[in-house]
């Protein structure tokens, strides 16, 4: 992952991030006061929010300049510091369900044939550029930004045929399960990325996600004859709080 990326180190900071995710996403867009952060987080409990933000300051994720908080770097990466089902329940499923609702986002799934060593490399070859480009789009200045979420999951435990939404949910399960099998964990991924986008940037982000999914399909096509897919990738992109979204 990028050198510009801040990494969450302690479990306490990870929890602070989990409990104030929207506020932190807002701060990675531009510096703002506690009151402005509270608005993004949708809370009026300022002391509690301040405590969480100060924990992130202590852990080097945020900085405090007088009345304003700001991100200490352009990107933040938090490796999982909870159970797989915890992150699935708290983040992945809500975001995936939101992406599958037509008025809030969209989801795509591609079936692929990928060599094992390339499956292990998909984080670098596919996810890293996707999240980097989304980050650049979220850097675009503007008013009326909205928080958008990308969920991405990939697994070599490909679900059988079925209805579109059920297959995506099954993909979440299988990717989560594979992440907890040490021997094959590195061939699966399950990530969520959040950013703060202007309406125009959001549209370009949606187009980017679709294009990247298509590129993936073109790069690792299933052979027309007898070629069963050995890998699947599902992507969901949605707007938090039900604002906006295009199909």
């Amino acid at each position: 992952m990028s050198e510009r990326m801040l990494r969450i180190g302690s479990e306490t900071a990870y929890d602070a991030l989990a409990e104030s995710l929207d506020a932190v996403v807002r701060l990675f867009s531009s510096p703002c006061t506690l009151a402005e952060v509270a608005k993004a987080q949708g809370t009026d409990d300022l002391p509690a929010l301040e405590r969480k933000l100060d924990q992130l300051v202590q852990n080097g994720v945020l900085r405090r300049n007088g009345e304003r908080y700001e991100a200490a770097g352009p990107l933040l990466y938090a490796g999982r510091q909870e159970s797989v089902i915890g992150i699935i329940t708290r983040l992945m499923l809500p975001s995936t369900f939101r992406a599958m609702q037509q008025d809030q986002g969209f989801a795509v799934q591609v079936e692929l044939q990928v060599a094992e060593h390339e499956q292990r490399n998909l984080r670098q070859s596919f996810l890293a550029p996707l999240t980097e480009q989304l980050n650049e789009l979220s850097d675009e200045p503007g008013d009326e930004k909205v928080i958008c979420t990308l969920v991405a999951m990939g697994t070599s435990d490909v679900p059988g045929p079925g209805e579109f939404q059920e297959r995506i949910i099954e993909t979440v399960r299988r990717a989560g399960r594979q992440r907890s099998i040490p021997a094959s964990a590195d061939r699966a991924f399950l990530i969520q990325a959040d950013g703060y986008f202007t309406p125009a940037a959001k549209e370009r982000a949606e187009a980017l996600v679709r294009t990247m999914a298509q590129d993936l399909k073109d790069t690792y096509p299933t052979r027309p004859e007898g070629g069963k897919p050995n890998y699947t990738v599902a992507l969901g992109f949605s707007v938090r709080n039900g604002v906006g979204g295009t199909k």
Binding site: T12, Q81, T89, L93, F97, S180, I181, A185
Partner: protein
Amino acid sequence: MDRIIQACDRLGIVGSRFREEIAAQVQSSVLARRGRDAIRITGSTGTGKELVSALVHEVARTEFGRTGELVEINCGNLPDSLFESTLFGHKRGAFTGAATDGKGLLERARGGTLVLDEVQNLSLEAQGRLLRLIGEREYRPVGSTALQRTDALIVLVSNLDLVQLAGTGRFRRDLLDRAPAKITLPPLWQRREDVAELAQQFALEAAADRGWTGFEGLTRRALADIEGAVVAHEESSVRRLRELIRDAVFAFPEPAPVKLESAAIERFLASFYGANPAADRAAWDREDIEERFDLAVEAQVVRHIAGLHGIPENTLLKLARVLRELRDSLQTGEKPVPNSYRNLMARTSLATKAALWILTGANNQAEFRKFFGEKNHEMPPKSVAWQLYHDVFGDDDGKKH
């Protein structure tokens, strides 16, 4: 049910799953029977038998207006020679040293609750002396010729399965038959959802005892490790979990942390269970996904439906859980399921939808199908759905929606 949950609050009973399960059992064994039958509470060590006895007393007090006290006696510490006089009282001169009449515990429990703890330790002879008390609510003080009546609610508590003991002749079957109302307490590891809630509560309590301020509890990672170890090592005792958490909090060097991280509990998981979180996490995660993924999906679906229709999420979740359990009972044959459920229970999703149909207020099958996108033949009759709903929640709850 809500009033039983409120009683749980008053008694400080923690654990959402435990509270719901116990509330349902107290409903059927105490409230539905109007407190007329003796109750037997069974659960292994540390599962909360004492608390549930207190809950039974509290519910009887608030729901039936009983004003007597809660009287407990540990039968394990009571020799046969003292059993009768302790429980029933005695007349002057009944035995050496009985210089005056003595009141027994039953007299103290008048209008209240008498809890016989570790009842399995009573000799068969002593059990025999309880037959009339539990069956007819009558007893005779030692040395007296007159029968007395008691209105005390009698609770038999055991950490062993009394039915099994009766099968081996160590407990009187006829005594068991006279106490038909049962409350069975699940071991801690079988209610995974409560582990984190309890651990967090114990950590906060211990921190308060240490005088820590600003302490926020255990981290998600630490909670996941505790939960994984408790389930994998089949820990049944809440008391042991409390001991583990308190040990970890009291062993932590000053200054007080904001949260207690997994490293701080690691050695206690090792000493209590021989667990090694770093090595075991993957396996715990796998188990967890298998066990809870479908529930997590169901919760999302319910949240979506609740949001769309302005229905209380908790009601829908509770309903879905009850329906799932009924389906499980049907499949395992553990307890009889009413005929009206059979068709519905064969498929949980359909049963859930049947109840949701009622909750969504759809007027006919066409409206319902529009919402759920179902085919005609998959729909249960609405009359069955209504019956199901009322059987589960009763008329009062039904009217709310």
